[in-house]
């Protein structure tokens, strides 16, 4: 079970992580910065990169219709079947935290308020878009037919470990704990989504596409993207609640060492002050001390 999970996770992570890296590389190339909060609102300028990043984060966070959920499903079933309950809980927390950073990333880079200097940014280069679209296609195909990727893996693992724990019944993947039908899941989700979309579109009544700062903002009118794009110190509540855990101990130790070195150096600098008069005083004092010692003898 563990090997199946690991190989599946590796394969799918290759697909969507690759896609996201390429997408972010395009954004970083076009904006000329790697600092996230300096970007923003790039969806309008780079829609294709946005789409691949969007599919990437849906897959990576393990939200069901896409292929990432398969990995989560296999992972929890393996962990619980093995009896590693707290590891399962920890990986659940980890996947929640993954949500946080992914949202922060897509919000800071692609959503929110576009900056003035990025108003003329072009879509990422063609040769960055093509592999993203290929990977996107692969993610979609493997999401609809998880057997395409799981059958070879399970054959490979099953040759080594015959009692592998996972088996397919039709399109349904079955373990000792539960079941998951990827095809049916995606059909249900797509149908529900399309119905909601139809309802939304049917109810639209000629909305006006408004300008960037046309937002309801408590009687103020924001006019700078820098003051309106919320991207810096994004998860402040988390930092306030648990920040003490990441404030590094080693960092504090080295700060103390640096402080000690600075004060020692400061004391020495009183002697080597670079001032001619101080040096003259040194010479006079040296002669005086020498005279005292010689005089004693």
């Amino acid at each position: 079970m563990g090997w199946t999970t690991a190989l599946y996770l590796a394969a799918t992570h290759f697909l969507y992580k690759g896609m996201m890296w390429l997408s972010v590389a395009g954004a970083s190339l076009r904006t000329g910065t790697r600092t996230m909060y300096l970007m923003g609102g790039l969806i309008k300028r780079m829609p294709l990169s946005f789409v691949s990043f969007l599919v990437g984060i849906i897959a990576l966070s393990g939200v069901p219709p896409l292929t990432g959920f398969g990995g989560k499903w296999l992972l929890y079933h393996s962990l619980i079947a093995k009896g590693w309950y707290f590891e399962a809980a920890a990986s659940f927390l980890a996947s929640g935290i993954a949500f946080l950073y992914l949202y922060r990333m897509i919000h800071s880079i692609f959503l929110g308020q576009p900056k003035d200097e990025h108003r003329t940014v072009k879509e990422a280069p063609f040769w960055l878009i093509v592999p993203q679209l290929l990977l996107l296609g692969a993610v979609i195909v493997f999401s609809v037919f998880p057997r395409l990727i799981l059958d070879p893996i399970m054959a490979l693992v099953g040759a080594r470990y015959p009692a592998a724990g996972f088996a397919f019944e039709g399109q349904t993947l079955v373990s000792s704990l539960g079941y998951w039908n990827g095809l049916l899941t995606i059909i249900v989700v797509v149908v529900v989504f399309v119905l909601c979309l139809v309802w939304m579109v049917a109810n639209l009544r000629k909305p006006r596409l408004v300008k960037q700062f046309n937002i309801v903002f408590a009687a103020e009118r924001p006019f700078r993207p820098e003051t309106t794009h919320f991207a810096f110190d994004f998860f402040a509540p988390y930092r306030r609640a648990l920040g003490f855990l990441v404030r590094g101990r080693s960092e504090r130790a080295w700060t103390a060492v640096a402080g000690l070195a600075t004060s020692v150096a400061g004391a020495i600098r009183r002697l080597y002050s670079g001032n001619g008069q101080t040096y003259a005083l040194h010479v006079v004092l040296y002669v005086g001390i020498l005279y005292l010692f010689l005089g004693v003898r």
């Binding site: 969806i43 309008k44 946005f50 984060i57 966070s61 939200v63 069901p64 219709p65 989560k72 499903w73 929890y76 079933h77 619980i80 309950y85 707290f86 399962a88 809980a89 659940f92 929640g96 935290i97 949500f99 946080l100 949202y103 897509i106 919000h107 959503l111 929110g112 704990l177 539960g178 079941y179 039908n181 899941t185 989700v189 989504f193 979309l197 309802w199 939304m200 109810n203 639209l204 009544r205 909305p207 006006r208 596409l209 408004v210 046309n214 937002i215 309801v216 903002f217 408590a218 309106t228 794009h229 919320f230 994004f234 998860f235 402040a236 509540p237 988390y238 306030r240 609640a241 648990l242």
Partner: protein, 304 residues
Amino acid sequence: MEPSIPLRIAYAFVSLAVITVYGLLLIGSMARISAKVQGRVGQPVWQPFIDIIKSSGKRNSISHGIMFWLGPVFRLAGGVGTYMFVPAVLGSVVFQNFSMSGDLLLVMYFIFFGQLGMALGASEGGHPYSAIGVSRGLAQMTAFEVPFALSIISIAVQYGTLDITKIVMAQQGGWQHWTLFTNPLAVVAAMIAFLGMSMHNPFSVVIAPQEIPIGPPTEYQSNLLGMLQTNRAVFNGAKLVLYMNLFFGGATNVPVMVVKTFLIYFINIFVGQAFPRFRVDQSIRFFLGVPTLIGIAAVVFIAF
């Protein structure tokens, strides 16, 4: 007997209609109860229906782009989809929904679907309050998922399965077989997580319902707001049915489901009217403290 596919789809619609109407009435009656507690008259029980009809009838005046529109679509699809994956009433063909697509893990992860889409849609609006609300909401969510996950693991170990139908089957035959009585620690942890999940007081600062409009719906109006209001009913219904199935013995008919889910939801009001609000960092610390310990105790108690 397995129903044919068209019949099954028709049943899904019936089931969805029932849960929507029930969810809206539930929200209305709970608002009315809160009003009585606070010494007000309160809104009529059917006010949520009026709100939705009114919102849907209005003209949209503003749009910020495609993802902005897709936000409520994602949200509603998330709510409806979550409900579709939960078997609502044990042994009923009509309320079986599409629970054969996956087990409890599918439901737990599908809960994120709507939140993710909504967060993205609200982000495109470019309103800083939307992003602040989302960041608070997500931060609080990761915290309350910990006791919830521990409690789920505990009952998965207890019943040896993650199949919701089997978990409900195992609880049949009298109230003393409910998880509430066979594994009380898991239920306590999950119920505390439920308070956070439904974002009533003391965990309501995420949506800040009383004062400034903070949170994802800041920029949404007219029919988009109508969709969000509808989703609230369906999504609440889905979560309540899930809780009822996992912890309170499930239901074998619709009246039992109504009574049980009403009482589960009532716990929110009961706690919410008695306690003031936490800040988000306080609620993160709270959820990672005692509730997590209770969850760990539940797992240890069952597994070892």
